[in-house]
């Protein structure tokens, strides 16, 4: 079978990021928590590849260790919404009627909120840090799956074979799980890549706003906001951690696009 170049590039990039997340903390050149106040704000050098921050901590080591934190939260936060969203989308698209109306109105309502306003409000109520982010995503994250899967399930249900399966005596659960699910799951997996990317960007943005991962745990977003005051004199402090976000994000995007091409979903 043909392998789309986007799929290969995306898989390689995501593979690198996952390897860094798993192994990085074991092999970093410096202790990411070790402060050295006399050695703070050093420019990049052979010992400190990305330089040191205002507390003298090695920025490269912190970027590497933050990969594990940020990726873990993104993947964890993406899991429950994936399952719930696919379930809701399947059932509401298949059942139609009153349930479908209700689900569609809930979807419309959540979409009316600017994403960051809603997430910040939930994090405000549920507490900052990892727990708040997970709760916020559990509440809003299922929406995109429900939308996409509902539309696709509705289209499939109108094709004759669903009626044929029902007429042949198959139960509703059997039609849903054995026959409809395999037809929509590819789309959901493609969407999952985008969602992990969006959650990762949201985690980093919340960190930047001081509402995400709390210090001293390394996180790309807090590193960028801590470094912002030094932008004029030491531009590498706030900008280099952003490259890690961009690399991971492009990898996830390409992987999603590649899977969509491979499974001919477009």
């Amino acid at each position: 079978m043909r392998r789309p170049p986007a799929l290969v590039a995306g898989a390689v990039m995501v593979g690198i990021v996952v390897a860094v997340a798993l192994l990085g903390p074991l092999v970093v050149p410096h202790d990411p928590f070790l402060q050295d106040l006399s050695g703070g704000l050093q420019p990049p050098s052979a010992t400190h590849w990305f330089g040191t921050d205002q507390l003298g901590r090695d920025i490269f080591s912190r970027v590497v260790v933050a990969t594990r934190t940020d990726l873990r939260i993104a993947v964890l936060a993406a899991t429950a919404p994936f399952v719930v969203g696919v379930g809701v989308g399947l059932v509401s698209g298949y059942a139609g009627g009153y349930l479908d109306w209700l689900v569609s109105r809930v979807v419309d309502t959540v979409i009316a909120f600017p994403f960051y306003v809603l997430v910040i409000a939930i994090v405000f109520a549920a507490g900052t840090g990892e727990r708040g982010i997970l709760i916020a995503y559990a509440i809003v994250g299922w929406i995109p799956y429900a939308r996409v899967i509902r539309a696709r399930t509705r289209a499939l249900t109108r094709q004759g074979w669903v009626d044929a399966a029902r007429g042949g005596g198959l139960s509703h659960p059997r039609v849903l799980v054995v026959h409809l699910l395999p037809n929509v799951i590819g789309q959901a997996v493609v969407l999952l890549m985008t969602e992990i990317l969006l959650i990762m960007v949201a985690v980093v943005t919340l960190g930047y706003l001081g509402l995400g991962v709390q210090p001293p745990t390394p996180d790309w977003g807090t590193m960028i906001s801590d470094g912002q005051p030094f932008l004029a004199t030491m531009w590498w402090i706030p900008t280099l951690p952003g490259l890690a976000v961009v690399f991971t994000g492009i990898g996830l995007s390409l992987l999603g696009d590649g899977l969509a091409d491979r499974w001919r979903l477009r």
Binding site: R105, V106, D108, T109, V110, I111, A112, F113, P114, F115, Y116, V117, L118, I120, A121, I122, V123, F124, A125, A126, G127, I135, I139, T194, L197, L198, V201, V204, T205, Y208, L209, G210, L211, G221, I224, Q228, L231, A232, W235, P238, T239, G242, V245, V246, F247, T248, G249, I250, L252, S253, L254, D257
Partner: protein, 310 residues
């Protein structure tokens, strides 16, 4: 007429959902708001006192009735716990600068997206088209605040074309201060928009009337500028309407990067001072603003091009 009624009516469940959502979301999430506001060291007595001041000791149904009555009667969103000013007044003070930023961002988005999409659609599979198709992948991966920092670095600190933060005073200065923040929002919003717009334009370019116009000997420029763009304008408007929630949310975050004292700054300071009514009021205000703007674009699109009525 039926379309008008149907479109207007479709907003009702969403507005109800938004009001219910804002009210219950901040209350059913685990944790007591009074405890949350006062922190871990608060005494039971002071928590009880705040609970009754906020009306949190009443049954949920009564709280909701009071909340709803306040909004419906005079737009009352409660008072700030920190300054005791009405939340609606606080929002009123800040909304102007945020709206100015949103408006300028919208202008930049159109100026960026339309020419790019046009260039890509006209030269299909050309170099610009490949860039445009790759843009969403790159755009989604870049956090808006980080794009903002890069713009500050290059155009603020490096070239010194624009101020690096805050809102300047003097003739033309406020506008100059908004250029980089608006550009940041526009760069975040454009990539997915360019891709959708390119698809719309490709469809228009393949339409029979374009072939007819060309066959009739109209210059290519005139076909593009008059016939294609005019037919692509309405779908573009519809796309912008769909993305208005993103536009507002992105703007609030970008305010932080450029130290702009708008609604975003109000929201973030309310979050850090645990100012419950202000957070609630901003969430409600933003969601209702999105609903109103989406409705307005739906209506405008329907009037301009009745084929697109839903």
């Amino acid at each position: 007429m039926r379309w008008l009624v149907r479109t207007l009516a479709s907003v009702v469940p969403v507005v109800v959902g938004v009001v219910l959502g804002v009210f219950f979301l901040l209350r059913i999430v685990p944790g007591d708001p009074a405890q949350m506001i006062l922190g871990d060291q608060a005494t039971t007595a002071s928590i009880e006192e705040l609970r009754s001041r906020l009306g949190l000791d009443l049954p949920l149904s009564q709280q909701f009735a009071a909340f709803l009555a306040g909004i419906v009667s005079n737009g009352d969103l409660g008072r700030s716990l920190v300054t005791d000013q009405p939340v609606s007044a606080l929002i009123g003070e800040r909304v102007g600068i945020t709206l100015a930023l949103v408006a300028l961002a919208l202008v930049f988005t159109v100026l960026l997206a339309v020419p790019l999409a046009l260039a890509a659609a006209v030269n299909r599979d050309g170099p610009v088209d490949h860039v445009v198709r790759a843009l969403p992948a790159v755009g989604m991966a870049m956090p808006a605040f980080w794009i903002g920092l890069l713009l500050v670095l290059v155009f603020g600190l490096g070239l010194r074309w624009f101020p690096v933060g805050g809102i300047g005073s003097g003739p033309g200065e406020p506008l100059r201060s908004l250029v980089l923040p608006a550009l940041t929002v526009a760069l975040g919003m454009s990539p997915p928009l360019v891709r959708s717009l390119r698809e719309q334009l490709v469809e228009v370019l393949d339409a029979d009337f374009v072939a007819t116009a060309r066959a009739a000997g109209l210059p290519a420029r005139r076909v593009l500028g008059v016939h294609v763009l005019r037919n692509a304008a309405v779908p573009t408007l519809a796309l912008l309407g769909v993305n208005v929630a993103y536009l507002i949310g992105g703007t609030l975050v970008v305010e932080k990067v450029f130290a702009i004292n708008g609604m975003g700054a109000l929201l973030f300071s309310a979050v850090s001072t645990r100012d419950f009514p202000v957070v609630q009021g901003i969430a409600l205000f933003c969601a209702l603003a999105v609903v109103v703007v989406s409705l307005a674009t739906d209506l405008l699109v329907g009037v301009l091009d009745p084929r697109l009525r839903r």
